[in-house]
């Protein structure tokens, strides 16, 4: 007998004498929404507040983006080819494909987001819409281009939008650790600066 059969049989046997099995409880996912975090404005306003709370940066237009990026020493970047035209005048040398042999040379990556969760302050990145997982991860700065209309207010709403994409990731601020004495340090393996650029 294969281990699969053996294990499934053992599981079945383990439960065979179980008369009244615990039922699936009746509950509303809304009970798990943290009310104080979703109150006080539109989905965009709530997202702005909660994304800032996890040290993400929200910019509302190109001028704002320019100002934020001016604070970073940025030479080379990797940008979704569909976005390069929007990013002229930043004095960054853009490449449209992430070259694995030069992974450490990119200071910034720009990709599309597929949504956001206002409640948790998270960007939603889907595999099909992300030009390259590595552009959104390896450079110190990541800019996710987010449509205002795709900001979902609560986590349960966002979970309904996972769809059939094979890989969806919620990015809640820059990468971080507290492994050393519980002290928060940002920029561990992923970006140290996480930007959401809102577009219409």
């Amino acid at each position: 007998m294969s281990s699969k059969q053996q294990i499934l049989n053992k599981v079945r046997q383990a439960l065979s004498d179980k008369q009244n099995r615990a039922p699936y409880p009746v509950y509303d996912t809304a009970e798990y929404v943290a009310k104080p975090r979703v109150e006080g404005g539109s989905a965009e306003q709530v997202f702005r507040r909660n994304f800032a709370a996890v040290h993400g940066i929200v910019v509302g237009d190109f001028e704002e983006l320019k100002a934020v990026l001016a604070k970073q020493p940025l030479k080379k970047g990797c940008c979704d080819p569909a976005l390069t035209a929007k990013l002229q005048g930043l004095h960054i040398e853009w490449e449209s494909e992430f070259n694995r042999n030069k992974f450490d040379e990119y200071d910034i990556g720009v990709t599309f987001a597929s949504g956001a969760v206002a409640e948790t302050g998270s960007l939603m990145l889907k595999d099909r819409a992300t030009a390259d997982r590595l552009s959104a991860l390896a450079p110190w700065v990541h800019v996710a281009v987010l449509k205002r209309s795709e900001i979902y207010l609560t986590l349960p709403e966002a979970l309904q939008r996972l769809g059939d994409d094979p890989n969806v990731i919620l990015v809640t601020g820059p990468s971080k650790t507290a492994d050393v004495e519980g002290i928060l340090i940002e920029g561990v393996h992923g970006p140290g600066v996480q930007i959401a650029w809102l577009v219409d």
Binding site: P166, L170, G173, V188
Partner: protein, 470 residues
Amino acid sequence: MNTEIPSHGQPIDRFAAAISGEVYESVHSSSAIKSDKRQALLAGDYPNPKHLREIAGQIKQHTLESLDKYLPQAVESLERNGVRVHFAANGEEARQIIGSLLAARGAKKVVKSKSMATEEIHLNDYLAANGVDCIETDLGEFIVQIDGDHPSHIVTPIIHKNRRQIAKSFEKHGLGAYNDDPETITRRARKFMRDKYMSADAGITGANFVVAETGRLVLVTNEGNSRFSLAAPKLHIALVGIEKLVPSDRDLSVFLNLLVRSATGQQFTAYTEFISGPHASGQPSGPEEMHVVFLDNGRSDILAGDCREILRCIRCGACLNICPVYRQASGHAYRSVYPGPIGAVLSPLLAGEKFPSLADLPKASSLCGACNDACPVNIPIPDLLLRLRDKGKREHAPLASRGVPPMGGFAGLASQPALWKGALLAGHVMNYFPVEWVPVPPLSKWTAQRTLPEFRGGEFRKWWKQRRQR
């Protein structure tokens, strides 16, 4: 801190007495801080966190008691998504499956993202012995690995180390001159790890949840290490305990909200990944091939026994942080992969035939009930500890019956409902009463080395009563 090592008593007490002041300080303060953060966050975000924990426990209990339905369903969903599914009855089989999956692609370099299941089967040693270079990518796990140490906590593996010890390890392993600044330590790890990711042939992960209905694997991390392990390499292998299932996507809002708050006192982790297969077509990065190895390793036996509630565990570590025994003893005293209250139940059960060697663990508890109240899936840990003590006695496990402190007084109390209720009332008085004054000699010996948490008791008893009525 008592540094005398008593020659008698339970092994866990001997370990506890032998830990250094430095370790005690690290473990004690950071577990206390995390407990406070968890409580404040839950209370601030929800009007009735207890109700939310109860629902979460019920969903998990339901899933376990219908595992004969959900496990085959999960297999079907995963396969539909293009994932290859394997089953391992024990650690040996799991190691072999993983070893041959790697060999089939000629994979010699592996990046691994923190996973308790892989700790449980001692995967790293096996891979090293088979010529596979496997690097732990979570900062804490990496430090444990270069030190040849073991994690002392299931969420924060180096809770027992301070920055000076870490700085020394980095220096010793050629990661730069001594520098104990946490930011410098982190940057050095970042730099070191990048080449490892980019040159790795495979990424190995665990899973926090697997959704039976959709076949989604959910992984939560803060550092981005699991994302990187699944962005650069072309092969993904996930080792998952068969108890990790949840019925549907909607249940994830329950578990993600409770897991993260309970584990790290954050609202949400920096990276929450939902993986249902190899990368999308057109996506240049990420695995071309994905495997899930379902691990039994004693779980189906636990499911058949009278402690199956322990399989609800979502490995948040809250019960460790709140536990007065864990805070005093640190994780290594539990001599097994899972320390703290969860470990005191799970480790002896997973040990199978070696149960007697860990039969002292269920005794290392004052049954104060704090773990039950902290647990996001509402596991009645104190009750399970009692059942295991009983099992120890029945199986004549020497470590279970040899006793410091003698629990006779407690047993008397616990077996007489009226006395017990009285004691519960008295419990609240204990919050204002120095426990060292307790005039019972064995008990004062016990409390001399332990601090009791604030008594918030009675919850477990209420739960048990309701459960009986149901």
